[in-house]
Amino acid sequence: MKQVEHAYPEVMNWIQLMARATAPSPFSDFLFQWEEVIFSGIVIMLISVFAIAVSRKIKFIPGRGQAFLELLISGLDDIVTSVIGSRGRTYTPFVGSLFIYIFVSNLFGLVPLQNSTMGFLTTVAPIAFCVFLYVQWIGITKNGILGYLHHLCGSPRDIFGWLVAPLMFPLHVLGEFIKPLALSFRLYGNIMAGHVLLAVFMGMGIQMLKPLHVPVGLPIHFPFIFLELLIGIIQAFVFSLLSTIYIAMMLPHEEYQHENHAVGTTHG
């Protein structure tokens, strides 16, 4: 049996329950191995169904769904344009997708018998890797190959800059890899820690009523659900914000400064 046992306490979800009920069988092995992929698929399906359902019935006077979606997209656009400038709107779909997926995943993890895919490093690390690849792609396309290498050497402008360039190059390359790793570890750590917290308090609640021989426990984990909700929103926001900042750091300096100044005069 290829059951994955985690080293930390966790709340059972329907896939684990189903896998344990059908074990040992190839089906239970499949469920254990593809748990996070199944949850990711469900989340993607939920987002897609909602987006398609709302965008099919777009009206001049928006309904509840359309108004919510417009508010969300406008907020995400604000985050991106406030960091990069009006040209940063090109990156709103990418950053917005990150935010919506992480946010919905985190909310989904609070539904009983469901799980957040952000509690799996195998889901979070590829998302951060996508950010890394996208940022590098922007660096190469916006700066050109030579400009990108110049950026990796610390953008030297004088003889001293060129002398320290061989030392700056590994530092810059390391820095580029530090970003996605820090992004993924922070998100994974926060969400996983939240799950562990809920599981521990659920277990304590059950233990408290054990002498009474009742099949329920005290809901002492309840306040932490709100904490988890808050953490879920904050983490989705921080992940998107940092991704936007990393994109801004890779853009050509002149373009960014010009844009940022324009934003400053507009909103000032």
Binding site: L174, K179, L183, F185, R186, G264
Partner: protein, 83 residues
């Protein structure tokens, strides 16, 4: 696009700063760890232990510090531009 000026803009800016500040511990932690793995891999490849491990641990630490500096500079620059 919504309005990011006034009181709402100040709150938004503060939330953004807090968001950027929360990245500091993770970046500081990941830098030397990544440096250790890179240096250790090179040392095992060329049998030069511990030179590259030590070098890359320090390089990772400096790279992490530099990333934090750039991150904060970026966030503060945005606020300066808005003033």
């Amino acid at each position: 696009m919504g309005d990011t000026s006034g009181k709402k803009g100040v709150v938004f800016s503060q939330v953004k700063q807090i968001g950027a500040l929360t990245a500091i511990p993770a970046v500081l932690l990941v830098g030397p760890i990544l440096g250790y793995f890179v240096g250790n891999w090179i040392d095992r490849k060329f049998q030069l232990y511990p030179w590259f491990t030590v070098f890359f641990v320090f390089a990772g630490f400096f790279a992490a510090g530099r990333e934090i500096f750039r991150l904060l500079k970026q966030v503060l620059k945005e606020d300066e531009a808005k003033k």
